[in-house]
Subunit: 216 residues, 2 copies
């Protein structure tokens, strides 16, 4: 994100990368990579299109604007995240401890494995104009509410005993704190690290269950 010019790692193939089947998919992939590495506002349309072997003008055969391209790739990532999270919870039985563990496992592993996509979806959302940003925020709130729901169930069943906030129980704040932790794994987890995704997910699940005071 530091240098403003593309890194140009190698000059072996004049047509960079291997040919993607659909040009629109190649554009999406190149945009993901470049937005993640250098940030939306400094990545130019020319950069993206050069990275998939086309010229600037060709972008507008597939997207109305650079802004729509960003929304497209963020929305697809965010939508699938919401889907897999809800699916993980739904398939974890009735025990809120199992639900929370399943949620953390899916959420953290996805943020490790799809590091680039998660990074773009979480960091570049602010560049969308007001109209497009609304449904992304809605999806985020939905995910947060899934966590709040699990916590609420656990508290009602007497299985969770989370810390209080000023004498009161604020599950929304706790859910935000936990989600911040899980989300930002994508900022520093690297495949070069010594910890496998599986172990990462386990660590975070353990910490979450302890933080909310889950009965053993």
């Amino acid at each position: 994100m530091t240098k403003r010019k593309p890194a140009r790692t190698a000059v072996a193939t004049p047509a960079p990368e291997r040919e993607q089947r659909l040009p629109i998919e190649a554009i999406r992939a190149a945009a993901f990579q470049q937005f993640a590495e250098r940030g939306y506002p400094v990545v130019t349309v020319r950069d993206i299109m050069k990275a998939c072997g086309l010229t600037q003008g060709a972008l507008y055969n597939h997207f109305k604007s650079k802004d729509e391209l960003l929304h497209d790739i963020i929305a697809s990532t965010q939508g699938e995240l919401e889907r897999v999270c809800q699916q993980a919870v739904a398939g974890a039985g009735d025990d809120p401890r199992a639900k929370l563990a399943a949620f953390v496992r899916v959420y953290v592993m996805r943020h490790c494995r799809l590091r680039v996509e998660a990074l773009v979806a979480n960091r570049e959302i602010g560049w969308l104009d007001a109209g497009r940003v609304a449904d992304i925020r809605r999806s985020r709130r939905a995910i947060r509410d899934v966590v709040v729901g699990i916590l609420k169930q656990g508290v009602e069943n007497g299985l969770f005993a989370p810390p209080l906030t000023g004498g009161r129980l604020d599950l929304k704040a706790i859910a935000m704190a936990l989600l911040d932790q899980w989300t930002h794994v994508s900022m520093w987890y690297g495949p070069g690290g010594t910890i496998a995704e599986e172990e990462m997910a386990r660590l975070y699940a353990d910490m979450a269950l302890r933080a909310v005071g889950a009965r053993p």
Copy 2:
């Protein structure tokens, strides 16, 4: 951060804001505000200077470049954060539980109170060029190592029993996870919220002590 043009909230005073004593301080304050609201790359030099009643060229009487301005305000924030964190730990006695609680308290309260500064220091660091980013990263590592040190002491004294990662104890990963949580309070905590800074700090300290398995 969405709109590219300054918000222009009111037109009451043609000279916006009240007069700051030193122009250089006014520039710093305006830059903080604008970078936090809209992001470094889309805030222009003209925007910043207009916000403190000057014209573009005057910036270069105080800073060598826009880049140096960003580094200046980030480095001062980061430096003071490092200072207050180390001071909090030093003045908390020998019990690692008290040290950790004191650290979290200072760190979280600072990220609530100085929301704007924390936001800029954490989000805009990537726009600095490689030379300037180095000492910011060093300071961040130093802060992380303070946390790792507290955890290590607690484990050695048998006062902390943190979760394992693949059979091994990875204090660095745990410290990163906790710091992510504490740092990103500045992303969603607002003075409009119903939770006071004090209670926020207490909540996060409670969660941290539970997460690392502190003995009661």
